[in-house]
């Protein structure tokens, strides 16, 4: 694996180039460029606000700015997770001619797809920061958790992406199954809701490896507290396992790519 990672590092320029191509093409095709990056997050935030508003009515508590902020903080990374898994899944298929004709580490394609989505995410995150300034959530030392949580999330997405992109080459129905998970995943992930609303049963929802990360983000940004360290460790370990497992499986299947398409 070390040798393979070194080879990947040697091809890093290609990784940037392909990510750059994906970004450029996406922004070139749509006149709305910037809007493209924030469209899905905005829709998710708005639906979150609707859900939260309904909850506020039922519970007879007023809807606070902090609630909206915490929905937004979790919605934007969720949009990133969804789009990066979706794009990585088709990344080998859409670069079919390169996969079968030219040699280089093929994990570059799913990784570049994540990188391109990361760019969209950063655009949306910048927009979100403005919103947070307006709502005035304030600063604290716990913001240092943000890069750690995001890095874990990226690791997780890359790992899942490696698994799905390779699997969907060999098993054509994988992409439909993934699509179902992406559509309904939001109901099992604390995006619109807070795991604390479920009391002691909330811990079952935290088993979703993405949950502690999203929850951690809103905890450190809005509540100015340190995220639950054990849950973070849980997510981190799962992300590393998924990444290593995905990478090993991808490299194992890679020589058969050209034969399978």
């Amino acid at each position: 694996m070390i040798a393979e990672l070194r080879e990947l590092y040697k091809h890093r320029e290609l990784l940037y180039m392909i990510a750059y191509r994906d970004i450029k093409v996406r922004y070139k095709q749509s006149v709305m460029g910037f809007l493209w990056a924030i469209l899905m997050p905005i829709l998710i935030v708005l639906s979150g606000v609707v859900v939260r508003y309904a909850y506020a009515i039922v519970a007879h508590v007023p809807l606070k700015g902090a609630d909206i902020a915490s929905v937004a903080i979790r919605a934007v990374p969720w949009a990133f997770i969804v789009s990066s898994i979706r794009f990585t899944g088709s990344s080998l298929f859409s670069n079919f001619s390169l996969v079968v004709k030219i040699y280089f580490p093929k994990e570059i394609f799913p990784m570049a797809a994540v990188l391109a989505c990361l760019f969209d995410f950063l655009v949306a995150f910048a927009a979100l920061s403005i919103l947070l300034l307006v709502v005035n959530v304030g600063w604290s030392v716990y913001l240092l958790w943000v890069p750690v949580l995001l890095a874990t999330m990226i690791l997780f997405c890359v790992g899942v992406g490696l698994l799905i992109s390779a699997a969907s080459l060999f098993l054509r129905d994988v992409k439909y199954i993934v699509e179902v998970f992406l559509t309904f995943g939001i109901f099992f992930t604390p995006v619109f809701f807070d795991v604390r609303m479920f009391g002691s049963r909330g811990k079952w929802l935290m088993l979703n490896p993405v949950a502690p990360l999203l929850d951690g983000l809103s905890t450190c940004i809005v509540l100015h507290q340190s995220p639950d360290f054990l849950w973070f460790l849980y997510s981190f370990v799962i992300s590393v396992v998924v990444f290593v497992g995905g990478f090993v499986m991808f490299k194992h299947l890679e020589p058969a790519f050209a034969e399978s398409i």
Partner: protein, 406 residues
Amino acid sequence: MSDIALRMEHVYKKFRKGETYNSLRDLLPAITGKMFRGQELDSNDKREFWALQDISFEVKRGEALGIIGHNGAGKSTALKILSRIMKPTKGNMIVNGRLSALIEVGAGFHPDLTGMENIFLNGTILGMTKREIESKLDQIIAFSGIEEFIETPVKRYSSGMYARLGFSIAAHVDPEVLIVDEVLSVGDFIFQQRCVERIQSVIKTGTSVLLVSHNIKTVTEVCPQTMLLEHGKILAIDRTDAIAGRYLGALPEAEEGNKAVYVSKVCVRGRAGQQSSFESGDTAWVDVEITARESLERLSVVIWFADDNQYMIFSVSTERLGFPPISLQAGESYRCTFELKLNMAHGTFNLGSDIFRYDREMSYDRHNRSATIFVGSTMAVRGAVNCFPTIIESEKFTKSGNLCEV
């Protein structure tokens, strides 16, 4: 540093024919069936076949090796293994140095990006660093000859422009081993010649080249040695002209119908007897034998040469050579021999034959490929014919007033 650039040792490659489980919907029942009923997953043994068997060869630095073979002979599989896209089932392979494969020109192009952006994208894919591309950018653009359109998205390019830009990028990678697969079949004649020249010049700088082509003409221009593949096995590795004869000799026979008079035999002879490989300027004899099923008169025998684009470059007939028309009774045969001087530049030429009746403009038995000959040349002439040039005078001078201006 060894001087071996590339070596294959007893390489085998096995493929599976037909479908395997390619969806979860099929795979899961098969696996559960196996677990609960002890049922075996379909064994695919019968559907396996060997695409390559016991392939061994080596190419030294600065050498060029051609690979020819009919469709399905295993050429592309061999190249895919060499460029590490596929793994051999058995055997070893060594590549020393940077390998670049010109397998499909413009494979990495994105239609929405401009020519310039695609140069950077494709160059990186082919293994160049950004700095390398920047330093060669002017050369790449100049070689492609599409300076004015370099800021246009490539989806608006013609297929020729596409190919030119693609080859231009690939030709500037400067690899230690260059693999070229059929890419030269695109683009116009002049561009093809430039590609060949470019490949020849990279060989001179010490790059090893492996060239795969159906077009023997290109192979002879680049590679002194050629490997002939057939059904995944090496039939021979030898001098290119020797291989070319074998390759062309293996062509299928022309069709035969039930005609009133038909060409019963065509034979091309050289000084050494029947042969298909000649030197430019050699004399060849073409024997044509025709047999009549019915009584016919006023016939003449026509032969012609066509180049590998099916373009007729020479044609002659007994009547046009001043011979009296031929009359045949049913069951009679007639034979004539043409003596020809093969003044073509090197290339592959198909000999066509026909029996023609000029007064009725009627063709009795037309064969576009009665025989194929291969003409080699030690002279570096280009084009279709060999005018056997020599330079008889050469001097250096300064212009004085009485020379006529052109």
